[in-house]
């Protein structure tokens, strides 16, 4: 009878049979060690060049990185920060994902305070927000006992939390203090603005104008639909650089696969594209197919990679041939659907997408919309975006229409051909 320990061992063996220490694919880049990110981050040379050019300036710059969900904005941000940490040790780099219900200024303040362990004010501020700090802060108060004349008592009591009423001003003060220690400046990277409602984002940007013109470098990530033309214009707008991240092309995706796999392979760190070993446990053919199916979208790439490797491990193979890949991809569709936990309406839209093969604001008919119980494409756009977020659909790269198509995964109902 197999014990749990045995099952664990088996599971580990199966991955090792594929020549890997672990499955290198992750849902989010945040989980990665900086070194690992450095190994696997691929492509985006032109974009990196544009960003690093900004950092050659004396002036503080504001950079907006935007693009579709799962395109690699967070990874890009983290890669930039990791390079800056290596190249500019006297620059403070901070990263934070936008918390719910917080404005940009307070978020920025949090990001900087977290990195300033030695600064009393910063630590006090975090404490007041209920964020754990290394020191327990006490307030010193003193009482002078009148009857005792010269006698005095000193007591301490815990600080009561107080929210900052003027986060922008507080941020300015904190930055001033930070710059004493970090003369090359402070970089504040705020991620995940695209997780918030576009009109909220618009308002937040509007309210944060003061902060954004302040004494720090800012890097923000956002969603293209949430930013109106007004904000994207550098003359009137807030950003010195608006960088759009698109899907990676096939060669770059292939290179990325090489990097991912080599970071996890046990005894083979071959990255030479000419050598078929560089994509082991994939064959070159299955590697190319895999890259094509993942459409140059890093998160989809990671999700599919996870499923394919897990399936290969379950099948106890040591090589991912096109047939094994096919099985892995077949398993991916239901997994993605399950993970997505679609609502009834989202499911209906997905079904229509599968039926039509492609849906766009130009070609969708009124009858199709009526069948979904709506009257306009803009009503189903959030649902399509949700499908995109769940990697069940992807947006086609057509600038004059808004078009979505299903991810080209084999259907899980397919039977083996004889």
């Amino acid at each position: 009878m197999t014990t749990a320990d045995d099952i664990f061992d088996q599971s580990q063996n199966n991955i090792q049979r594929l020549g890997l220490k672990e499955i290198p694919f992750t849902e989010s880049p945040i989980d990665l060690e900086s070194e690992t990110l450095q190994r696997i981050f691929t492509g985006r040379e032109a974009e990196l060049r544009q960003v690093f050019n900004q950092f050659q300036s004396r002036e503080r710059r504001r950079i907006l990185v935007y693009g579709r969900i799962g395109i690699g904005k967070s990874a890009f941000l983290l890669e930039v920060l990791s390079v800056l940490r290596r190249k500019r040790p006297k620059m403070l780099t901070t990263y934070i994902s936008l918390p719910a219900n917080l404005d940009l200024a307070t978020t920025a303040l949090l990001a900087v305070a977290k990195e300033m362990d030695d600064d009393d004010w910063a630590q006090r501020y975090l404490y007041q927000l209920g964020i754990p700090t290394s020191k327990i802060l006490k307030e010193r108060s003193s009482e002078i006992s009148a009857s005792m004349g010269l006698g005095a008592k000193t007591s301490e009591k815990d600080l009561q939390p107080v929210t900052s009423q003027y986060p922008t001003v507080s941020l300015d003060i904190l930055l001033e203090r930070a710059q004493k220690k970090y003369p090359d400046g402070v970089v504040i990277a705020i991620d995940d603005l695209d997780k918030r409602n576009p009109s909220e984002v618009r308002q937040m940007m509007h309210d944060a104008q003061g902060m954004l013109k302040g004494d720090a470098w800012f890097m923000l990530t956002g969603h293209p639909m949430g930013i109106t033309g007004d904000l994207l214009t550098s003359e009137r707008g807030l950003f010195d650089l608006q960088l759009k991240l698109d899907e990676l092309d096939q060669p770059t995706t292939y290179k990325m696969l090489i990097n991912y796999l080599s970071s996890a392979r046990i005894d083979n760190d071959c990255t030479d594209q000419g050598n078929p070993r560089c994509v082991l446990p994939f064959t070159p053919e299955s590697a190319a197919t895999f890259c094509r199916v993942s459409l140059g979208k890093p998160r989809l790439f990671n999700r599919l990679g996870n499923t394919v490797l897990s399936k290969a491990a379950d099948l106890e193979v040591d090589l991912i041939t096109p047939e094994i890949l096919h099985e892995g991809l077949k398993a991916a569709a239901p997994t993605l659907r399950q993970q997505a936990a679609l609502s009834v309406q989202e499911e209906r839209v997905r079904a229509l997408l599968m039926k039509r093969g492609e849906i766009s604001d130009e070609t969708i008919t009124f009858e199709d919309l009526e069948a979904l119980g709506v009257r306009s494409f803009s009503d189903i756009l959030p649902l399509l975006e949700r499908l995109e977020e769940a990697d069940l659909a992807h947006q086609l790269d057509q600038e004059d229409v808004k078009a979505f198509a299903p991810i080209p995964l084999p259907s899980s109902e397919e039977t083996e051909s004889t």
Binding site: T228, D230, D400
Partner: protein, 636 residues
């Protein structure tokens, strides 16, 4: 018939005294049997005249010499009985009958000592109160206050423990009076009415006092129909339930009159009913009124008959089943019948109410010349205002103002008369000072105010008007019952106004707020029953995005608007959407595609004869073609 109440120089009392003596004999011999008394009065109709009224005080003293009566207290009791009989007598001049009843009671009470004959005194106060409660002459508000005061006095003697049935009767009548009360807070008055009827029902147990129980149920039904607090739909259901309970007792053969009253009450609730199928409710109302008319005939109960005719007319005017033309004919016929009894001098308030309803019918009439219909309606509203003055009858005045304002709004739409809208706005604001917040009249006035202001905005472009219109619509929407069939109409007006205001704000540079309003309006309208309003809002949103140079969203919304307009076969909408879409595509550099849309827009504008738009698109196309040629040259 009474001609007026002038004071003759000498008061001939002999005939009147003879009449009263004869009445006394009849009354005592029949032991106060109401049918016998009614027959007697019917056959002496001509004696119920002004000279009787004037003579009553003198008659009192003359009767002291008459052997039938031993004492002034007896005469007082007799006068009160007389007052009571006249009060319920259905023939002759109601106005005069009520005066006679009131005077008889007043005369009686002067000679009746409360502490010596408390019960008789209290009975006198009750009949007096009944008279005041229905009184036609004099100031209505005053009369009602006098009625309430008299009932309260009666209740000091006829307490619940010593005189339970009398107490219950007074409570019931008090309930009816509170329902009509003009002074003090209306909502409070209705609550008092409901409370009073419920108190009566504590004594009027169905098995023991079936008729009285039914009467209290009827009263309760009326009160619930008028109730302002609580959920309107619920209140109306309670009203129906109460009338139906009354009808279980008021079986047609046994208590015809009361049965007919209950049928009338039931009809009134069905007309206002929110739940259930509207057309079915109207049919039930019509049936109830027709049943009531079988008993309340013109000959026997002319006042009630006239009232029911008025109600029937209202039902026919709302009727959706049957032939529309025929329904209108029935409406007019019923009003005319009503007016045969409700003359302006003898029943001024009732007359005015019917006239008001007729004005509404003209206002809403679609046959004939519309402007002429509206002019007629307005003339009638003006006449009605002579009776329904703000001081005397404020709620009726407010309702008249509101309906009149609606006629003015319609007039403005037909004739472009700005002043009509200004007047309408002022009238509605005035009406809202009086209308009880939360009442149906209040809701109607708020909705109409919103309409008047948004129409006025179309002419003067003053955004303040739109802001106020939005506020008025929101107020109406907050007040109206979620189940009300009119909710949809108001609910649609709100987002439509939002979208107009939104696009206006965007054009003025308040793009955040404007866009937010537009998106709100689209969100609301996409779930509504008015796809055209939805399409318009989509179009406005597209335009707003275009103003903000947000091409992606602009294109998206233009396409959505186009699709919906196309489905609705709205050519103007299709043309302007293609125009917008083409313009945006061209701005983005998709010249061929953009020009394709513009060309289609051009063709359609030509078809629908919009030369201004044709010129606009032609000019744009020319510019684009030039740009294209230039680009081709540069490329070469």
């Amino acid at each position: 018939m009474a001609k007026g109440f002038g004071t003759p120089q000498s008061i001939p009392t002999r005939d009147a005294t003879k009449f009263m003596v004869a009445f006394a004999k009849c009354y005592f011999q029949s032991k106060g049997d109401q049918d016998t008394v009614r027959e007697f009065l019917a056959s002496n109709l001509t004696k119920l005249d002004e000279s009787l009224l004037e003579a009553l005080p003198m008659i009192f003293y003359k009767l002291l010499k008459n052997p039938i009566f031993n004492s002034k207290e007896n005469i007082s009791a007799f006068f009160i009985a007389f007052g009571s009989s006249i009060y319920i007598f259905p023939l002759g001049s109601r106005k005069l009958n009520l005066e006679i009843s009131i005077t008889a009671c007043q005369v009686a009470l002067r000679s009746l000592q409360r502490n010596q004959f408390p019960s008789e005194w209290a009975a006198g106060q009750t009949i007096l109160a009944n008279g005041y409660s229905d009184r036609i002459q004099g100031d209505r508000a005053d009369n009602i206050e006098k009625a309430i005061a008299a009932y309260e006095l009666a209740l000091q003697v006829h307490t619940s423990d010593l005189f339970p049935t009398e107490w219950a009767e007074i409570q019931n009548n008090l309930g009816l009076t509170y329902s009509d009360r003009i002074r003090e807070n209306r909502a409070d008055n209705i609550e008092k009415a409901i409370a009073a009827h419920k108190l009566a029902l504590q004594v009027y147990i169905r098995d023991v006092f079936p008729t009285e129980w039914a009467s209290a149920q009827n009263g309760l039904g009326n009160a619930y129909l008028n109730r302002i607090r609580g959920d309107r739909a619920d209140n109306i259901e309670k009203a129906i339930a109460a009338h139906e309970l009354a009808l279980q007792v008021y079986v047609h053969d046994i208590s015809q009159e009361k049965w007919a009253s209950a049928q009338n009450g039931l009809g009134n609730t069905y007309i206002d009913r929110i739940r259930g199928d509207r057309s079915e409710n109207i049919e039930k109302a019509i049936l109830a009124y027709q049943l009531a008319l079988k008993v309340h005939t013109r000959d026997e109960f002319p006042t009630q008959w006239a009232g029911i005719q008025n109600n029937l007319a209202l039902a026919y005017s709302d009727r959706t089943l049957g032939d529309r033309q025929e329904n209108i004919e029935q409406t007019i016929k019923a009003y005319e019948l009503s007016l045969q009894i409700y003359k302006s001098k003898s029943f001024p308030e009732h007359w005015a109410r019917v006239q008001h309803n007729i004005a509404n019918t003209y206002r809403d009439r679609v046959q004939g010349e519309l402007t002429s219909n509206l002019d007629t309606a307005i003339e009638i509203y003006q006449q009605v205002e002579q009776v329904f003055t703000r001081e005397a009858l404020p709620y009726q005045w407010a309702r008249n103002q509101g309906d009149w304002a609606e006629a003015l709004i319609k007039q403005a739409a037909l004739t472009d008369r700005n002043r009509s809208l200004d007047t309408a706005v002022d009238m509605l604001k005035g009406a809202l000072e009086v209308a009880v917040p939360g009442s149906p009249d209040f809701i109607d006035s708020q909705y109409r105010l919103g309409t008047a202001l948004s129409r006025r905005f179309e002419q003067n472009q003053d955004p303040q008007d739109l802001q106020q219109a939005l506020k008025a619509y929101k107020t109406a929407l907050d007040a109206i019952s979620p189940e009300h069939y009119d909710r949809a109409k108001i609910w649609q007006a709100l987002p439509t106004t939002q979208s107009v205001l939104g696009s206006r704000l965007v054009r003025e540079g308040e793009w955040q707020e404007g866009l937010q309003l537009l998106l709100n309006s689209v969100r609301l309208l996409r779930e509504g029953d008015d796809p055209l309003a939805h399409a318009n809002a989509l179009y406005q949103t597209a335009r707003a995005h275009e103003t903000l140079s947000d091409w992606d969203n602009s294109r998206l919304y233009y396409r959505d608007a186009l699709r919906l307009y196309d489905h609705l076969k709205d050519e103007s909408g299709i043309a302007k959407s293609r125009h917008g879409l083409g313009s945006v595509l061209v701005s983005q550099g998709y010249l061929a595609k953009g020009m394709g849309e513009l060309q289609k827009a051009l063709n359609l504008y030509q078809q629908i004869h919009r030369p201004d738009k044709v010129a606009e698109v032609e000019s744009l196309l020319q510019t684009v073609q030039q740009a294209e040629q230039h680009m081709q040259k540069v490329a070469v």
